[in-house]
């Protein structure tokens, strides 16, 4: 969709310097078969990332009961953009929940924008993901023993919570039940790739400007474990988030940086420094795109229920 928009306006998507390609890269994990495949989706750029991308993937793969983990264009590149969105259906209700820690930077530097867990595993297992793809290992494998030290992130599925690196929770406890039902006991992501910065001077300038806005964060700095790329160490980094601002949660930054990233000129400056060619209409259209996806998900669920009955 974005390509069509861009062509119409005479924009060149090739200016995206730091993104590996123009597409959203998604790893599909078939839990039932224990197989994975990496796919590129040019049309998903219109959804930016986070809940935008995740809502579209949940809609498109609804019949596979998907659990979608999705990051955004700023994760790994700019301060305070430290969340990972997870979207799924719980008893027919669309759930989007967010966790911090190191997960979003590891996914970014694995070259993966999103991964989808499809169907259910035959045996409880741990998902191990890196730049070469995903594999499932037996659930009795200790999560902390997997992945590359210093470049890894471990997600543990516990009774009633899902913890990133033993500390950072997701906002919605239903994720624990959902992952448990899918047979997932843990997820380990190792960052095995990355990006060359082509326009370093411009990127550095933009990065430093954003870091200099630390005083505008809506929470006090502390000495708690901090999310990767965030200097705050705040007392709420471990609590996760739910729903809320579609734009912020598509980028995907945290709610306490809303005062910073809600500034459209600043968001444009960050996106443009990374080579993204979004225009005002693209970003303005985002909430409608997401709500349309969610409505379609509910329509599909309703149709399917009627067919069953």
């Amino acid at each position: 969709m974005l390509r069509k928009v861009a062509r119409k306006r005479g924009l060149s998507l090739k200016r995206r310097k730091m993104s590996r390609e123009d597409s959203i890269t998604v790893v599909h994990v078939d839990l039932e078969k224990g197989e994975s495949a990496k796919k590129s989706y040019p049309d998903l750029r219109a959804y930016v990332g986070g809940v935008g991308t995740a809502s579209k993937l949940v809609l498109d793969y609804q019949n596979l009961d998907p659990i979608v983990f999705s990051i955004g264009p700023l994760n790994g590149f700019f301060p305070y953009a430290s969340k990972t969105c997870v979207a799924f259906l719980d008893e027919g209700k669309f759930v989007d929940t967010y966790g911090g820690g190191r997960l979003s930077t590891r996914l970014k530097y694995t070259g993966v924008d999103a991964f989808i867990l499809e169907k259910k595993a035959r045996e409880p297992c741990v998902l191990v993901l890196d730049g070469s793809g995903a594999v499932l290992v037996p659930a009795d494998t200790a999560v902390e023993s997997l992945g590359i030290p210093g470049r890894r992130c471990g997600v543990e599925v516990l009774d009633g919570s899902v913890l990133i690196d033993g500390y950072f929770a997701f906002g919605d406890q239903r994720l624990s039940k959902k992952l448990g039902e899918a047979g997932i006991k843990g997820i380990v992501v190792s960052a095995t790739s990355g990006f060359q910065i082509e326009n370093r001077e411009r990127y550095d300038r933009q990065y430093n400007e954003m870091l200099g806005k630390v005083g505008e964060m809506l929470i006090e700095a502390g000495s708690n474990p901090s999310c990767s790329g965030c200097p705050m160490g705040c007392a709420r980094s471990n609590l996760g988030e739910n729903g809320g601002n579609v734009f912020i949660h598509s980028l995907v930054s945290c709610v306490f940086s809303e005062s910073i990233y809600s500034s459209i000129p600043l968001a444009f400056a960050c996106l443009n420094s990374l080579g993204y060619d979004y225009v005002h209409e693209d970003l303005e259209a985002l909430p409608d795109l997401v709500y349309t996806n969610i409505n379609k998900i509910y329509e599909k669920a309703s149709d399917s229920k009627l067919e069953t009955e």
Binding site: G166, R200, A221, G229, P231, G233
Partner: protein, 91 residues
Amino acid sequence: MNKKILKVSFPEKCIGCELCVLAAQRQVGKASFEGSPIRIMGGKKGYDIHLDPSVNDLDVNKISEICPKGCFSVEEGGQEEGLEFKAEEDV
């Protein structure tokens, strides 16, 4: 020739934000963890900052200054060359 040496002076203050890791990588034009001279290990029970010597080829002041908790110090007067060892027959 003397050079500046980055030291981890207060590891217990580290909050795991990895700004130092990313700052070091930006200096060599990368956004990644691959090949980074700094790695932050550990988790909720505390973090360890692992430096490899190649970090001192970078602008260590910038790395030190970006840490929000002041974990690093920069020492002047380090040797540029490492110790030199000679094979026994050359001694």
